[in-house]
């Protein structure tokens, strides 16, 4: 009994400390995950907490389960339309990229630490994948706004490269345990089984789960739980059959995000919370597991390996993997820089312990140190790097509050609320004057903390909360209405997307004529859309084409069709 009480108290203290840390850290620009890790370290044997924790199997279990949940949640946030631009490059990064990273880091580690090639490669494989939790949380941070190509590539990559790293780690461990009995065919078979089974079970399982959620009549609060344990079932079942459970839950999440799903909003909100809990729990436990006093002896070599990883292996692998996709150079540099390592390497570093490998302690401490360095150096500088490379876009929907509800009996409709800011130009308008789509309508206005009766609505004032019923597909447009009204946002937008609008069907020759700029060669008969298709296939919002002194900027897209183009003039 005493033990249970102590454990509950301890867990509560660690979680509360982590949750409170989320209040302060965004202002410091520190990656949150690093803070969770440090809280774990402080609570551990070398910190004031002085908790002795070295249960590798338990840490492995917690880490694996948490990763499964985070990947499931990450998958549910991935929209199919992101796949259009991001999928192929991301898959290349997740396969070839991981291989190259692991090979370069492995060769260097083997040389530096005087290990066998397989042991060196094992270190490379352990730190081979980028971290979904770290990448997701950094890219959804309010300080960074990037174009869709970069975000979707980074997100899909980080969600889908863990299986490759895990696979390489497992193969290398199997080889190291018994080098005589392990052949090339075994490796190939493992690869096929892990990847093939993971993909099939993930997509199939995801569809089944959607069907189950939409068919079964349950109490409202059980749908999110059904989704969560359905996802874990997919993970467990796939993994028991020797497929990649990580790939399976990620794909299941994606499958669910792109189908009509009952209670979608509450499922999303629930998983958001669960994913937070998984992240905090995992990083705190992994922090507890490590002991800084054992990290110091390997600090020198580990730092060198981390630098090789960040400055050589990752850029090389990104360059090679993206070679066929002709990414702009500055986007490649940025993608290289956001090669954040996170929990996966630390979780993977517990595998050699479980397999009783000779150098397990060395692998763990080096991997842990590399993650610390990566989170510190790269995690801290993502926003400045985006600014430096000129990849920052004007904030999109971050400035408005949006609260989603499900309407019973309806799918695809939500209730959203927006706050009218002090600089909003909607102030003074009546609700009927708001430019809204036909089905969207204002249902409530609250002012000074009180819901107003319909006859008192009157003109909008600063600080009002406006609630609307809206179709899910109208939400981006609604965001635009409430955001474009903000003056600072408007100026930033004009600077980025240009002063004027052009019809995507306007002829290139006419534009060149109107502004006295040279038309691109061979593009005289094309319209704006055609020129983008020719010079920038797979364009995303924010992409630019230079035309003499002016820029053409993609302002808006509807799926893969450009619907609005900005014209950006030169500035003083």
């Amino acid at each position: 009994m005493e033990f249970a009480n102590h454990m509950i108290l301890l867990a509560a203290v660690l979680f509360l400390a982590s949750i409170l840390a989320t209040v302060i850290t965004p202002r410091l620009g520190v990656p949150l995950l690093l803070v969770f890790l440090i809280i774990g370290l402080l609570a551990g044997e070398d910190g004031p907490g002085n908790i002795h924790f070295s249960d590798y199997p338990l840490a492995n279990l917690a880490g694996t389960a948490a990763l499964a949940v985070i990947l499931f949640d990450g998958g549910m946030r991935t929209r199919m339309e992101d796949f259009r631009v991001g999928l192929k490059p991301a898959i290349s990064l997740a396969s070839l990229g991981v291989l190259v990273t692991a090979a370069v880091v492995g060769a260097f580690a083997a040389w530096l630490l005087d290990l066998g090639w397989a042991e060196g490669l094992l270190i490379g494989a352990i730190v081979g994948s980028t971290d979904a939790a770290a990448v997701f949380s950094l890219l959804h941070n309010n300080a960074v706004h990037l174009n869709k190509r970069v975000t979707s590539v980074l997100e899909i990559e980080s969600g889908s490269n863990d299986p490759m790293a895990i696979l390489m780690t497992l193969v290398l461990i199997a080889y190291l345990q018994d080098p005589e009995a392990f052949g090339a065919l075994d490796t190939l078979w493992m690869l096929v089984l892990q990847g093939g089974l993971g993909a099939a079970m993930g997509i199939g399982g995801g569809r089944l789960l959607v069907k189950a959620i939409n068919r079964l009549e349950l109490s409202d609060s059980l749908y999110p739980l059904l989704a969560l344990f359905g996802g874990l079932l997919i993970f467990g079942f796939t993994a028991v059959l020797h497929g990649s459970g990580f790939l399976a839950v990620y794909l299941a999440g994606i499958t669910m995000a792109n189908r009509r799903l009952r209670a979608a909003a509450s499922i999303r909100r629930f998983h958001d919370g669960i994913a937070w809990m998984a992240q905090i729990g995992m990083f705190v436990i992994l922090g507890l597991l490590a002991s800084p006093s054992k990290l110091w002896p390997v600090a020198g070599p580990a730092l060198l390996i981390a630098l090789v990883l960040i400055l050589v292996a990752r850029p090389l692998s990104v360059w090679l993997a993206l070679l066929p996709f002709r990414f702009p150079a500055r986007e490649q540099v940025f993608i290289s820089w956001v090669g954040l390592r996170g929990s996966v390497p630390i979780v993977l570093a517990t595998y050699p312990w479980l397999a009783n490998l000779e150098n397990a302690a060395l692998f763990f401490n080096i991997a842990f140190f590399i993650v610390l360095v990566s989170l510190l150096i790269q995690g801290w500088t993502v926003a400045p790097a985006a600014r430096l490379l000129g990849l920052q876009m004007p904030a999109s929907s971050a400035l408005v509050h949006r609260i989603e509800f499900d309407l019973p009996g309806q799918r695809g409709y939500e209730i959203v609320s927006y706050r009218i800011g002090h600089d909003s130009s909607l102030i003074g308008l009546r609700h009927k004057e708001l430019p809204l789509q036909d089905v969207s309508r204002v249902i409530a206005i609250s002012r000074a903390g009180r819901l107003q009766a319909y006859r008192d609505w009157g003109a909008l004032r600063a600080g009002d909360y406006v609630s609307l019923v809206a179709a899910e597909r109208d939400l981006p447009q609604l965001d635009e209405v409430f955001r474009s009204a903000r003056r600072p946002a408007r100026e930033a937008e004009q600077r980025y997307f240009g002063e004027f609008h052009l019809d995507p069907a306007a002829k290139m020759a006419d534009i060149a004529d109107a502004y006295g700029v040279p038309p691109p060669s061979g593009a005289n008969d094309l319209d704006v859309r055609g020129v983008f298709a020719k010079y920038l296939p797979n364009a995303v919002v924010g992409d630019r084409l230079r035309l003499g002194d002016i820029d053409l900027v993609v302002r808006r897209m509807d799926r893969d069709q450009i619907t609005d183009v900005g014209l950006r003039l030169p500035h003083e």
Binding site: D423, S425, P435, S484, R487, R490, E491, Q494, E499, F500, H501, L502, D503, A506, D510, I511, D513, A514, Y515, G516, D549, I550, D564, V565, L567, L569, P570, H571, E572
Partner: protein, 152 residues
């Protein structure tokens, strides 16, 4: 750039009411031709209309900046109209337009001329400036406001 070099007081006018975008552009062309004596207002109208066909020059929030290149013009020429009632200008935000700044640049427009256009667009993206322009008492006051504008 000083706007006073581009815009003279006789090319600022207010209180118009138009029934169509075309009529507004016609009137604007006449104003502009005061600053470009060698050019007929019909040619100016053609240039402005050709540009509008590529996409409305409405910036949103009630402002439009029709512009075009013009042979026979050596320096940028501006004209400004304040309308009494907002006019449907096919602006992308759907709002009617009541502040219209017209700009002609030389046929061999250089980067400097495009920067004039950018500076004018920036001026009209300032909400306080637009409010002041809507409240200015008469043409003189409007001209003074425009000519003395200093970006914040």
């Amino acid at each position: 750039m000083k706007l006073a070099d581009i815009l003279s007081v006789d090319r600022v006018s207010s209180g118009h009411t138009f029934t169509s975008k075309k009529k507004a552009l016609e009137e604007l062309s006449k104003l502009l031709s005061k600053g470009a004596p060698d050019v007929g207002s019909g040619d100016i109208l053609n240039s402005l209309s050709a540009r509008e066909k590529l996409g409305s020059t409405g910036l949103g929030h009630g402002v439009a900046i029709p512009h075009g290149r013009m042979p026979g013009v050596n320096e940028s020429v501006g004209a400004f109209m304040r309308l009494k009632h907002p006019l449907d200008y096919e602006a992308h935000d759907g709002n009617g337009v009541d502040l219209v700044f017209g700009l002609l640049v030389p046929q061999n427009a250089t980067e400097a001329h495009l920067k004039h256009l950018a500076a004018i667009a920036e001026m009209f993206s300032d909400e306080n400036f637009c409010r002041a322009a809507r409240e200015a008492a008469d043409d003189q006051a409007l001209h003074a406001l425009l000519a003395n504008f200093k970006p914040a």
